[in-house]
Symmetry: C2
Subunit: 286 residues, 2 copies
């Protein structure tokens, strides 16, 4: 199967929130036929009224599922697993499934192990987001400067991997690449989950009320992601527990190293850490 | 003394780097007579060629010092102390001195205690900056969205405090306020120094080479300030050691709280920390 514009390829989005809605918006603009199944009828109503989808329903509509060539699951991890268990009998043979889940090891293998043999699940992680929710905030521009990672296992066909990479390019991602589930989870634990842990921790340190007027850009930048969807992120943390704990341990150790240097007036050591961070961060700006 | 535009008030900047240069730029635009003394002749040449100052020298010019009504010290803390010790005989009686130093308790009292009785030092902290250095990067727009804090002690006159507040307004700061040296240092330890510690630590955790292509906005935001002037910041950390260690301890404890919640699968506790951080961070956006 190949992606085909001009309504030949029918794409079904399951879960029409911020990411699902942004997928729909981007793909419909490109000329694909886009349908949606989501929990709330008002999300469907909004998406239809704003030309984000071609059709949709808040019911699990067997007809809509069977028409789909490609189904994108934009659900919380546990709901995603449950949905597959309950509704996979409706898939048309040969349908390709993909997802947007932010953790992989604890999701991909389980989905693939319970899935019918005649459909294929190729996992992907669009590393894009906003601190707002719902289809009302969907915005395909969030993909422009972002990375899209396809996360295949040995169960995946090259055809499905290629299709999924093509989907990332069609969505408009700056960078499209592949990683194993294990490498993905390690990377995400460090680059995304640990940073969210830090931002949350920093905001929990003090009641910031009297500090607001002194708060500068640095503090705002470090805490922007402290506005967090607690239901989703606690689930993502728990589903990537070992990898995240390992990254928290590394951070903890390095933080203690800096703290000890300050405590012991070891200026050289403080400065060597600062020079290392400056050199490494500088490479991002190139 | 009051600030008087149209070249009646002569302002001398000692230390023409990023902040000193940005002060000069803002004040000259406003119509003040601005002179500068700095170490490197090439900084003076640049500032003269780009209309940032009216006159300047790389020598400690007694004439220039004596003509000044207001002197702004934009030097590293230890060099600032040393400069006062060596050159205070040149001040004209009645001159007002101010500074831009990022720590206060370990600076203000010492300066005031060694200073001649016939001049007055009123300390201030412009909470503005950039990750670049030197007069070549000076930019008075960095003050627009920033906070300016006057840090008086009981040795200061109301007249000097008012003058210093007026200076902050003339520079174009969004917010101008006063704090005691102790409150200032506690606030800066949390809002600025701790955030820099975290950014440095985060960059020191791993060699990011293979991670660059996956790095999203969150990680970039949290590590922007990891590009750090190690000479200046290690000095600022050391000069605010007790306050910063106290803030590092609070962070350490809260981070361990989140880590323990994850380790023990205590979803409720993780979520309560996330809800607290979301609620507190939300107040910044108002």
């Amino acid at each position: 199967m190949k992606l085909n514009k001009n309504a030949d390829t029918r794409i079904l989005i399951v879960g029409l929130g911020l990411i699902g809605g942004s997928y729909a918006k981007a793909l419909k603009k490109k000329g694909y036929h886009v349908s949606a199944i989501t929990k709330e009828q008002k999300s469907i109503d909004y998406a239809l009224a704003n030309d984000i989808i071609d059709e949709g329903t808040s019911a699990v509509d067997a007809g809509l599922i069977q028409q789909a060539d490609l189904i994108v699951f934009a659900l919380y991890p546990r709901i995603f697993l449950q949905w597959i268990e309950e509704n996979q009998q409706y898939f048309r043979s040969g349908t390709i499934l993909t997802d947007v889940t932010g953790v992989k090891g604890s999701v991909v293998y389980e989905i693939q192990s319970i899935l019918r043999e005649d459909v294929e699940f190729i996992s992907a992680h669009p590393m894009a987001g906003k601190e707002v929710y719902g289809v009302e905030n969907s915005d395909d521009k969030i993909f422009e400067n972002a990375n899209y990672i396809v996360v295949p296992t040995e169960k995946n066909s090259q055809e499905a991997i290629d299709l999924c990479l093509e989907l990332g390019r069609e969505l408009g991602f700056r960078s499209v690449s592949t990683l194993s589930p294990e490498k993905h989870d390690e990377m995400i634990a460090y680059l995304s989950q640990l940073t969210h842990c830090i931002a949350v921790t920093l905001m929990c340190c003090h009641d910031g009320d009297h500090l607001e007027e002194y708060t500068g850009d640095s503090f705002r930048d470090l805490t922007r992601i402290a506005k967090i969807n607690d239901a989703m992120w606690s689930e993502l943390f728990a589903m990537n527990k070992e990898a995240l704990l390992a990254q928290m341990d590394v951070f903890y150790e390095k933080f203690e190293e800096l703290r000890a240097a300050l405590r012991e007036d070891d200026m050289d050591h403080m400065r060597s850490m600062m020079r290392l961070s400056t050199e490494r961060r500088g490479r991002f700006d190139k």
